[in-house]
Amino acid sequence: MQNLGATPLPEPARKELYSYAYITAIAASAQCEILVPKMDYDSLDALVLPTRGGRLPLSVQLKATAADCINNDNVVFDLPIKNYDDLRSTERGIPAMLVVLHLPNEEDRWVTHQSDALLLRNTAYYLNLLGSPAVANQMTVRVHIPVEQQLTKGSLLGLLQHVATYRRLP
């Protein structure tokens, strides 16, 4: 086969794919579809769409970090200002949240395949930024996500239930 000179997938792209894999697995376990818009123009990477009930969707902005980001029971993440402003905006119809996937420092530990398991490390955290204050920052805004806000099947179902009832995130 001819060598087409393919370059390795850059690290940000690899992190992005792990994020999608994580949210897709969690959503599937909660019996939800994942829809991926072609362009992320409004800080929307994926839509979580329940297949039952009122079927009100949830927008997700996905981020991933392999840095040591846990500090005082918070995940500390520097979010680009564009995403921060979009996620805090009341000018949207579908509730939106930030999901940060915390990856191990060593890339070979991001995913482990065993004979009876496929292990994705570590875990993802969610944060609702709706109504957060405007900031003067030019590049990024440091956000703090309580570590108890882990994105799991149970927490996702709880969030969707809240959206179905109140049409907004808690």
Partner: protein, 378 residues
């Protein structure tokens, strides 16, 4: 399937509202950015965006269209297309293609379908002005103006679907000019009358496919009042020829801007293959029996009585029509009756001119604008 951003771009919150209203949804709750709609039959709820300025407007519209596609069992692309054209009646003409054609159509077939579709619309528009079995002269201005407003939309998958957009917001000039203040009440736009006439005439032809105890030609003569014409039959015959199943299938999405009280927002009519092959013969028949205005007749009075001719016809002329000797019945005024009586007594011929209607036996000459004695023997 979720439609792409391109497929939903240009759809406004007003378009969405009109579409939902026309499809039995009613607005229950309104917030700054969203409105909640409930379906009359199912009590299902959905959310619709109220402002196109919100960040995720296109995403919301895509999801809404996807949901409606599942709910209605239709391709979301069709729903998006209907939403974009809420100000128009949308007609979808489906041409059946064989499996090996993989949803494509030969250029020559497509060109033929487009030409005949325009003929079909023209026939419907002319029948909407005045039903007639055959149209030959130039169409009236309102018909030409209407045709200028119709558009060919994007083709759609599903065998091969041609989309015709007929904007109901189009107003013929006469509708504006001749309306007095007293008459200014909601009136069916001409464009809607055209599409309604088309729908009615197709239903009539479909009905003609059922067995009758009369010759089919006579059945079709009665359908003229429903908008059927030789021109329409010719167009439908050629369209059916391009379709593998030889049927003519049209799907109507009626504009929400001109609601049809008590009727569904969409309707489908299939003219079945058992009738389409004879449409060419029916077209010939309707051309033959089409009333011919300005027809001149010269002949002898055969009968001067209303005993046998019926329906107020009191004169039978014997004359040569298209090379054959025929009897022609006329209704006379008192003055014309005087002339006819003289002709009868003296054996002189009469010359008259009117609308020849060959649907009856004897033929009828209607609305004569001339009736005079002539002397062929002098």
């Amino acid at each position: 399937m979720t439609p792409s951003d391109r497929q939903v771009e240009d759809i406004t919150p007003e378009d969405i509202g009109l579409y939902l209203q026309a499809n039995k949804w009613s607005e229950e709750e309104v917030s700054d950015v969203l409105s909640v709609w409930t379906h009359a039959d199912t009590e299902l709820n959905l959310l619709a965006p109220r402002r196109s300025s919100v960040l995720d407007y296109q995403t919301q519209v895509s999801l809404l269209v996807r949901f409606l596609g599942e709910f209605e069992g239709r391709n979301p692309i069709q729903i998006a297309s209907d939403m974009k054209f809420t100000g128009a009646d949308v007609i979808r003409l489906r041409i059946d293609t064989s499996v090996i054609e993989r949803g494509t159509i030969a250029f020559n077939k497509a060109a033929e379908v487009i030409i005949q579709t325009q003929h079909m619309l023209l026939a419907a528009a002319r029948a909407a002005v005045h039903p007639q079995s055959f149209f030959v002269a130039r169409p009236p201005t309102e018909v030409s103006d209407y045709l200028d407003t119709t558009r060919l939309g994007q083709t759609e998958p599903g065998s091969f679907v041609f989309t015709i957009i007929s904007p109901v917001t189009f107003k013929v000039k006469a509708e504006d000019d001749h309306q007095s203040a007293v008459e200014r009440k909601p009136k069916t736009p001409f464009a809607r009358s055209v599409v309604s006439t088309l729908s009615r005439s197709l239903l009539a032809i479909r009905q003609a496919a059922t067995p009758h105890d009369r010759p089919l030609g006579a059945v079709f003569e009665d359908l003229v009042e429903e908008g059927v014409s030789a021109n329409l039959c010719d167009a439908l015959y050629v369209i059916a020829e391009q379709s593998v199943d030889r049927a003519v299938e049209l799907d109507f999405t009626w504009s929400a801007k001109v609601p049809r009280v008590g009727q569904e927002a969409r309707s489908r009519i299939v003219v079945p293959p058992m009738i389409t092959p004879v449409l060419s013969d029916m077209a010939k028949h309707l051309k033959q029996v089409a009333p011919q205005p300005g027809f001149e007749v010269m002949g002898k009075v055969e009968r001067l009585s209303n005993q046998e001719l019926g329906e107020g016809f009191d004169l039978a002329l014997r004359a040569i029509v298209e090379g054959r000797e025929r009897l022609i019945a006329l209704q006379l005024s008192d003055a014309e009756r005087e002339i006819a009586s003289t002709a009868w007594k003296t054996g002189r011929s009469v010359f008259t001119r009117g609308v020849l209607d060959k649907r009856y036996r004897p033929y009828r000459l209607l609305e004569p604008d001339l009736f005079e004695l002539i002397n062929l023997d002098s």
